[in-house]
């Protein structure tokens, strides 16, 4: 019977021994990179909304405060989506004939809610609370980005758990004084390291062990 394996098979066998784990590691690496990619997390993707509402115009150009619409952001887990009435406060006076605003007017007249698409789509087992973040010196733009520069709204960060934990492990870089919370143009000062540490003390921010306990966010 002829030899099945030629001598060069040894090399192939050795190579495959080596390349197997390498391929496996590569596959894992691809998965991890993919999971963090904007395609995998949906970050940067503009959601199609019933009304193409522009934060750039309302916040950046007109300077409307976040809390004019998101009224409960300081005292509830939920920042609050404005009722149609809030839109109509102004739009019963201006742009009354705009086609773009037709769904808003229809909602107001028929008493039917607008159905917006959620931009930050947290899973059901995550219990995020806006009020405590605001209270502890985390500004709006830290998570939502420069919304004064966003004509249409999209999710800025990855909103992966590691992104949350980055800050829960080291909140210092993201802390600002209470006066700057709703300032969309706030920039990190050069001495943020010292200021952050001071603010953390002032806000009585709990230690990393507490902030990374599972039930802080998951129940």
């Amino acid at each position: 019977m002829a030899q099945i394996f030629l001598p060069r098979s040894n090399t192939i066998a050795k190579l495959s021994l080596l390349s197997g784990p390498l391929l496996g590691a590569f596959a894992v690496w691809v998965c991890l990179v993919y999971a963090r990619s904007s395609y995998g997390t949906g970050s940067g993707e503009v959601r199609v909304q019933p009304v193409p509402f522009s934060h750039q115009h309302h916040v950046g150009d007109l300077g409307i405060d976040c809390r004019y619409c998101h009224t409960t952001v300081e005292n509830s887990s939920y920042a609050g989506m404005p009722p149609t009435k809030t839109c109509m406060n102004c739009h019963s006076q201006m742009w009354v004939g705009s086609d773009m605003l037709e769904p808003v007017r229809a909602s107001y007249q028929e008493g039917k809610s607008l159905h917006w698409k959620r931009v930050y789509n947290l899973p059901g087992f995550v219990y995020f609370n806006h009020s405590i973040h605001i209270h502890k010196g985390v500004g709006c733009t830290t998570c939502h980005g420069r919304i004064d520069e966003m004509p249409l709204m999209y999710q800025k960060p990855s909103v992966l758990m590691e992104w949350c934990l980055d800050c829960h492990r080291n909140p210092g870089p993201n802390l600002r004084p209470q006066s700057e919370i709703f300032n969309v143009k706030w920039q990190r000062p050069s001495d943020q390291d010292e200021r952050g540490a001071e603010l953390a003390k002032q806000y009585q921010i709990r230690d990393t062990r507490f902030l990374t306990s599972c039930t802080v966010c998951h129940r």
Partner: protein, 1045 residues
């Protein structure tokens, strides 16, 4: 390869062993006491539920294939290429005031059950009620709830509720129904309503009572009947016997040093039960330092009863007797205390004498005799007389006007009836008789189910057929609805305006939390639509709010009404409406009755007696379609999903009934109980037998309410009944007990899902108890024992770095003295934490999901149990938690505040943690138990707690969502959490305040002082787990003169 093994033991050998068994101090089951093979087998195979569920044998190759495939699928199932699709955000068009999305709101309301209301606070998430708490301002609640209150939220969302008006099964509109009824009423008007009958339950709503009177005024010869299957007729008949008129008896347990209960289950039944528990336990809790131990004091409770109740279980001395003997005891007690002429029965005489001595030894007004609802009027009279003799009236006993409407049956002339009290049973008898005599043309049933609950001898269903127009208002298409022409869907109490009175008369306005889910209407609205106004007899329809408001407006001056109304709604209590105590004197005829002494002694037959009892969880049957209540292990028996024939070990032995054969594993676990036929005259039922240590010999108890023919998908339908209908054995003259019971043991057996043997802790000394005398001598009796077991180690040994706690350090203390085993905590936990219902089969296999269980322990022999103890066991949140070390995926970890966190998203279902937990408090989702599909049931889920799916372990979280809520709120307000701000669901519900939760780092907190108590001990501390949930040992106060009796 079927691991199922029938462990039915050798009967005689086991009985012998039971007779000899005296060694162990506390036991849970008879099997454990006898140390039977069953028990040992269960102990050896710690997790019987792990036995394979697959009945067919499966080869190794098949197994690997299946495992490989499921592993791959499970892995892939968790992955998705894109992020989850974006959900909608739906804001209001115009935001209502006060509603803050994401923050729950609480509204004060009240629930009426069994002729009395209890004030509640209902949690509402954006208009969706999810959880019920007690109203601490309300005298009947003081912040606590019972299991019916907790479970009523599930009734609201019951998908089987009737949803439309029907006429002969066909869908109709409300207008059509009203037109038909108004036509009939107009015809009746010509005859002054002579052919009209209205049937209600016991009414305590002042508005509805006024409405009923107004309605009857338009039809003076119409008659109003009231019926309640758990009627408290005897209480009122006793009052009439004693005082010549019906009065309510109100007890003040804070004043009583000695309480004697004559078959009164005052801790779990009756209008003021929650208040009774709070008051009674306030005199029972011992909170002294070791140095002051000799000054510790407790009240003392003597109970005479037939079946075992939680009140009996808490007694210092409990006497199990046949029902008729209770009357003899009451006479003897009265005799000893020189109320009437002295006379004592031979048996039980010494017991009575000692109790009488104890009562006499106390100062006047410091004792209390309570007669049970089921006792005949004469026992109530004797209790009144003894209380008077002991100077208790005005101290621990008060008399008030009755809180409910008296259902005086009018004789047709419109005159006030001569006898002010007409009992519920008589009332229904009159109705059945009139219907049978074809004197009734129109029958209007407002919210009751007489077809199911009427005594069998009334032949109510047959009589009903002779009525021309039958209308039923009810929440379900139940047995009665199906015998009526018209069925009208009724609102749940959380959907409609109403009012109610508490046990002391305090009025609460019942305000709705949500619009009616199914276009139901309340009894107020139906009555209003059927009451013509003015001489023109015009019809109108007012909404419930206007009806209730108009009633109270008429009672008060117009000025300041709005303030009064808003305050009353906000507080949940109408100020100043409690009824004033009255001075009552024993009537002349009562004195004569007492002097005459007992009538000819009641039959003392040796035959068996049947005792009918309200079901501890489904009440009179109205809660049959409530899965939470069906699955709640009944206090004391720990049986779920059915009723059984309860009997004492001696009676069982006489009848030839074996100890239950316990099998476990797979789909067929549970107790295989012999089925017995209970025959009373020509009526009989077949029901599994159950041996209940402590039950009186020669009697068999059966719970009412099961065997519903038209309850729903949970409570049973005609073909698939759940349990056995005990009402078929009930007659009007033997309402609560009947003699002449014949019992035949059939050859058949039935699986009974009883949780008593689940989660057994193998005879380790988990319950610790002592008498008050022992406590005074050795205040640290509980701790010392624990330390000895741990080898004297004071500083726990560990190789791990101890966890530092700078902030909060949560902990819990459970007072075993106060716990009455009522299980309101278990249901509160279920409602708060979205705990699923698993069904009878799964319970039998040991897969119930309750995060909190209440273990029952008994001391003494099987025939003479002398102590009962209840031990609620939630997660211990151990400092060195055995579960944490073994989880391969870190799904259970220690939090910075000492909680043992369970992370559902990480859990892969290895169940190592549950294997390693010595307390057996972890529950595994063997199947997708949570209901994701039924739209209405989903509305009940607490939005702050994840709903768990299949393959995930879960357990008590110390209500971490409530801790987070309090933490965030306190920090927003820039303060620390104050003691008592975080109430766990179980703690909030407990009427006895047996559960204390708080921050152990706060030295002044209640939990910290509880941990300092000499009674404090940890469960299985010798394992060095350092449990964070700990216990205060149970104290009892037995009378030394009755040692061991």
């Amino acid at each position: 390869m079927n691991p199922r093994k029938n462990l039915a033991p050798d009967v005689e050998a086991l009985w012998d062993r039971l007779d000899r068994a005296t060694g162990k101090k506390y036991w849970r089951t008879l099997d454990e006491l006898a140390d039977s093979e069953t028990f040992r087998e269960v102990m050896l195979r710690e997790f019987p539920e792990q036995a394979p569920a697959l009945a067919s044998p499966i080869s190794r190759r098949q197994f690997l294939t299946l495992m490989g495939a499921s592993l791959a699928l499970a892995g892939l199932g968790g992955c998705s290429v894109r992020p989850a699709p974006s959900r909608d955000v739906v804001p209001y068009v115009q935001a209502p005031e006060q509603v803050v999305p994401g923050e729950p709101m609480f509204f004060a309301t009240a629930m009426t059950l069994g002729g009395a209301g209890v004030g509640l606070l209902v949690e509402s998430h954006m208009g969706r009620p999810t959880k019920i708490e007690g109203n601490s301002e309300h005298p009947a609640s003081l912040g606590a709830t019972d299991l019916f209150h907790q479970a009523s939220i599930l009734d609201l969302y019951d998908p089987d509720r009737s949803q439309t008006v029907t006429h002969l099964g066909q869908t109709r509109t409300w207008d059509q129904a009203f037109t038909a009824m108004r036509e009939a009423l107009t015809q009746q008007h010509r005859r002054q309503g002579a052919g009209l009958r209205v049937l209600t339950e016991t009414l305590v709503s002042p508005t509805q009572i006024a409405q009923m009177r107004a309605f009857l005024q338009t039809l003076p010869r119409a008659q109003w009947h009231q019926y309640e299957p758990l009627a408290r007729d005897n209480v009122y008949r006793g009052a009439v016997l004693a005082f010549g008129r019906p009065v309510c008896t109100r007890y003040d347990f804070t004043k009583a040093d000695v309480v004697v209960s004559l078959d009164a289950d005052f801790l779990t039944c009756g209008p003021g039960k929650l208040r009774h528990v709070a008051d009674f336990m306030s005199r029972r809790r011992v909170r002294t330092t070791p140095a002051q131990a000799n000054t510790a004091n407790m009240n003392r409770l003597y109970v005479v009863e037939t079946a075992v109740t939680t009140t009996g279980a808490k007694a210092d001395h409990r006497l199990a007797v046949k029902p008729y003997e209770i009357e003899a005891i009451a006479w003897a007690l009265a005799a000893e205390l020189q109320v009437p002429r002295p006379e004592a029965p031979e048996r039980l005489a010494q017991w009575v004498r000692v109790v009488a001595d104890d009562l006499r030894a106390r100062p006047a007004g410091k004792t209390l005799i309570v007669a049970g609802d089921r006792q005949p009027p004469i026992v109530h009279l004797l209790a009144h007389a003894i209380n008077r003799q002991l100077g208790n009236v005005g101290q621990s006993v008060h008399y008030t006007e009755p809180i409910e409407a008296q259902p005086a049956v009018q004789d047709g002339s419109g005159r006030a009836p001569e006898e002010p009290v007409v009992e519920r049973i008589e009332s229904l008898r009159r109705l059945a008789h009139d219907m049978d005599a074809r004197q009734v043309d129109v029958l209007l049933i407002l919210g009751s189910n007489p077809v199911f609950t009427a005594p069998a001898d009334f032949r109510f269903t047959d009589a009903m057929q002779k009525v021309g127009l039958r209308v039923h208002l009810g929440m379900h298409q139940d047995e009665t609805a199906r015998q009526c022409h018209w069925h009208l869907p009724e609102t749940h109490y959380l959907e409609a305006w109403s009012d109610t009175r508490a046990y002391d008369g305090t009025v609460t306005i019942v305000q709705p939390l949500i619009e009616p889910l199914y276009a139901g209407r309340s009894a107020h609205e139906v009555l209003d639509a059927l009451t013509p106004v003015g001489t023109e007899r015009t019809w109108r329809q007012r909404p419930g709010r206007l009806i209730v408001q108009a009633h109270w407006q008429a009672q008060r001056s117009a000025s300041g009404f709005e303030t009064f109304w808003q305050t009353t709604l906000h507080d949940g209590v109408m100020a100043g409406t409690a009824l004033a105590p009255q001075n009552m004197a024993l009537s002349e005829s009562a004195r004569r009755t007492l002097t005459a002494g007992p009538q000819a002694p009641r039959r003392t037959s040796d035959g068996l007696e049947l005792i009918l009892l309200p079901d501890p969880t489904i009440h009179d049957g109205r809660f049959a379609n409530n899965g939470w209540l069906q699955e709640l292990p009944k206090p004391l028996t720990e049986i779920t999903w059915e009723n059984v024939a309860l009997m004492s070990p001696a009676t069982a032995r006489q009848l030839g009934i074996r100890l239950g054969g316990y099998t476990h594993g797979g789909e067929h676990g549970g107790y295989h109980q012999q089925i017995v036929t209970l025959r009373l005259g020509d009526r009989s039922v077949q029901v599994p037998a159950w041996i209940m240590p402590g039950h009186a010999d020669g009697c068999i108890s059966l719970h009412l309410g099961y065997g519903r023919a038209w309850a729903g998908r949970i409570g049973g339908r005609a073909g698939t009944r759940v349990g056995v209908n005990a009402y078929t054995l009930r007659t009007s003259d033997h309402f609560w007990s009947a003699s002449g019971l014949q019992v035949n043991v059939t050859g058949a057996t039935q699986v009974v899902a009883c949780t008593q043997q689940h989660h057994s802790m193998e005879n380790r000394e988990v319950v610790r108890a002592a008498s008050l005398t022992e406590y005074r001598e050795h205040p640290r009796f509980a701790t010392v024992r624990g330390r000895e077991e741990a080898g004297g180690a004071r500083v726990p040994l560990t190789i791990y770095e101890p966890h530092p706690y700078d902030g909060h350090k949560w902990g819990m203390v459970i007072d075993l003295t106060a716990c009455t085993g009522c299980k309101a905590c278990v249901l509160a936990c279920q409602a708060e934490n979205n705990i699923p219902v698993v069904g009878k089969q799964q319970v039998a296999a040991g897969r119930e999901m309750h995060w909190l269980r209440v273990d029952r322990y008994v001391a003494g022999t099987a025939d003479r149990p002398i102590e009962f103890h209840f031990q609620p066991v939630p997660c211990m949140h151990c400092e060195n938690a055995p579960c944490e070390y073994v989880c391969p995926v870190e799904a259970t970890v220690h939090s910075a505040e000492g909680l043992n966190d369970m992370v559902y998203q990480r859990c892969v279902g290895t169940r190592f943690c549950s294997n390693n937990c010595p307390y057996k408090v972890r529950r595994f989702n063997f199947f997708a138990f949570s209901d994701y599909r039924t739209e209405s049931v989903r509305q009940q889920y607490n939005p702050d707690v994840t709903v768990r799916s299949r393959g995930v372990m879960e357990k008590c979280s110390y209500c971490v969502q409530r801790i987070r809520h309090a933490e965030i709120h306190s920090q927003l307000e820039g303060r620390d959490i104050f003691d008592g701000e975080v109430l766990t669901a179980c703690q909030a519900a407990c009427p006895a305040q047996a559960i204390i939760f708080g921050n152990m780092n706060d030295r002044d907190s209640k939990v910290a002082s509880g941990k300092q108590s000499p009674l404090h001990y940890g469960l299985l501390e010798e394992f060095n787990t350092q449990p964070r949930t700990t216990y205060l040992a149970a104290l009892r106060n037995p009378n030394p003169a009755l040692e061991g009796r």
